[in-house]
């Protein structure tokens, strides 16, 4: 009976791991439709010394296969691939890289997409609902190998998301 109980515990743990991957939130909650002003501060320099710690903004769709797949669809539907191709860049910079100009963490990506950036990145805030921005971010992160392999979107013909393709990649930085 001891083995039985242990077996159930192991199963429950594995169950929880699978929960996030197979999550399918088809109806976004109303709060996710609004657009937040910004998620990440670009500079730690502030007048008046450090202030209370900022809340960490996490991507609610981390590790969720359905949302990464939706992100892939939206990446093409909203024509991100027009400038960024399938992550390799063209008119715009590549999205598979180690060093991000404005930061590669999900909060930074959120800011970039929502507020736009100089030299051509449009400000999508107010146009794309927030939940879709997060889905696109999940997809971009998956292109960089930052999402669990089992949840990652289908491989694309043009660029293989293989660790060897990401130069000097630091492993194990998933959120």
């Amino acid at each position: 009976m001891r083995t039985g109980a242990m077996g159930i515990c192991v199963m429950c743990l594995l169950l929880l791991a699978a929960c996030q991957r197979e999550k399918r939130d088809i109806r976004p909650s109303p709060t996710r439709l609004a657009i937040y002003g910004d998620a990440a501060k670009e500079d730690a320099l502030r007048p008046g010394g450090p202030i209370s710690p900022q809340p960490v903004v996490n991507n609610p769709y981390n590790g969720s296969a359905y949302d990464i797949s939706e992100g892939q669809r939206l990446f093409n539907w909203y024509n991100c691939s027009g400038c960024h191709a399938n992550g390799g860049g063209g008119i715009g910079p590549p999205l598979i890289k180690q060093h991000w100009t404005y930061g590669g963490e999900p909060a930074n990506l959120f800011d970039t997409i929502v507020k736009g950036r100089p030299n051509g990145m449009p400000a999508w805030g107010g146009r794309i609902p927030e939940y879709q921005v997060w889905q696109i971010i999940a997809f971009i992160r998956s292109m960089n190998g930052e999402q669990p392999r089992s949840a990652t979107a289908s491989r694309q013909d043009s660029i293989e998301t293989n660790p060897q393709n990401i130069v000097n990649r630091v492993r194990g930085k998933t959120k």
């Binding site: 109806r27 976004p28 669809r73 939940y131």
Partner: protein
């Protein structure tokens, strides 16, 4: 044993009776029905169906009567031989039975041959449609979960792009050129003809013709994902002159907004994510991901005919697409009422 036999007979008769009754009751109601033909192809298929039905039904009854007769002693037709000891009757009985079985087998072969000839003949007759003159070619693109329709024309300015509602002229053959943008779908309007799959990386062809005016419903018939159940199409057959008038109206770009309210509505459309997916000819909205909305106000249904096209339904659809069709690809956009109302009015004005 006798009681048992009677019980079996009566139950069998009862089941057969229920079956017939349900058949008769439910023959009423002909929307999207394969046995309510509105064109020559579906007419031939309907005739073929009823021929099969009566012939095979008669065969079924004969087989069942013979099977049930095995239970009654007096219907055996052979002398009661001492089977208890040997477990087999005489050689003469056996060879007689074998001859009967051989005869039944030959009859089966003949009947099946007749059915094969009838089927192949019907198929050939139905494909004769493609030899008729002056077909109307419509390219149907299956998407998750809506139908894009393009009325082909050698003059590119006369190619009509619309969605989810197809008008066809009565008496003219229509060639459906089927492709798919994502997964396998199947174009099926039972009143007019059988179905044809729309397979990505293939082009499939189907022909149909309506022989009287009417409104016919079709539905996707190949499982295509979450909202396969809500992917319907209206095919409206109308006389040639009405069809031409419809085409001319549909080829026009969208009417410009004539009141400030409608102008506000168009502005809301342009300022939101709508333009990323939808096209309205005559405006700068040129999204290709979703259905063309140039003449949305003239269509009967919303969301691949999941609900009728009324202002209330449209408002509900725009505010929360996931409630009507959970899992579909339309973005959920937060609009407040000062934006929503003009937008709905504007879209309904696009006749």
């Amino acid at each position: 044993m006798k009681n048992n036999t009677r019980q079996i007979f009566s139950t069998f008769a009862g089941v057969l009776g229920v079956a017939c009754l349900s058949l008769l009751i439910s023959c009423a109601g002909h929307q999207q029905s394969a046995v309510d033909p509105a064109g020559p192809q579906s007419g031939r298929i309907d005739t073929l169906w009823w021929s099969f039905f009566w012939l095979l039904g008669a065969i079924f009854v004969i087989v069942m009567v013979l099977t049930l007769m095995t239970l009654g002693r007096r219907h055996r037709g052979f002398e009661q031989e001492p089977l208890e000891a040997t477990h087999k009757p005489s050689e003469e009985t056996d060879s007689r039975l074998r001859r009967i079985i051989a005869g039944a087998t030959v009859t089966t072969v003949v009947i099946l041959f007749v059915l094969i000839v009838a089927s192949v003949g019907t198929g050939k007759a139905n494909s004769e449609l493609q030899n008729k003159k002056n077909p109307l070619t419509i390219q149907v693109t299956g998407n998750q979960w809506w139908w894009q329709l393009e009325y082909m024309n050698s003059d590119p300015t006369k190619i009509l792009v619309t969605a989810n509602e197809m008008h066809i002229p009565v008496g003219r053959p229509v060639q459906i050129r089927g492709i798919s943008n994502d997964v396998i779908h199947s174009f099926w309007v039972p009143n007019l003809n059988g179905k044809r799959d729309l397979i990505p990386s293939h082009v499939t062809t189907q022909w149909m013709e309506a022989d009287h005016p009417g409104v016919f419903r079709g539905q996707c018939a190949e499982f295509c994902g979450l909202q396969h159940a809500h992917m319907a199409i209206w095919v409206i057959a109308e006389p040639e002159d009405k069809f031409d008038a419809w085409m001319r109206a549909q080829l026009q770009p969208a009417a410009g907004p004539s009141t400030p309210e409608l102008q506000r509505g168009r502005q809301v459309f342009m300022n939101n994510a709508c333009v990323y997916c939808h096209e309205i000819q005559g405006t700068t909205a040129a999204g290709q991901n979703g259905p063309d909305l140039t003449h949305f106000g003239s269509r009967r249904g919303i969301a691949a005919n999941t609900v009728p096209n009324t202002a209330g339904n449209l408002a509900g659809w725009i505010l929360d697409p996931q409630s009507l069709k959970p899992g579909n690809h339309m973005a959920t956009i937060a609009l407040n009422s000062t934006d929503l109302q003009p937008l709905v009015e504007y879209l309904e004005s696009l006749k």
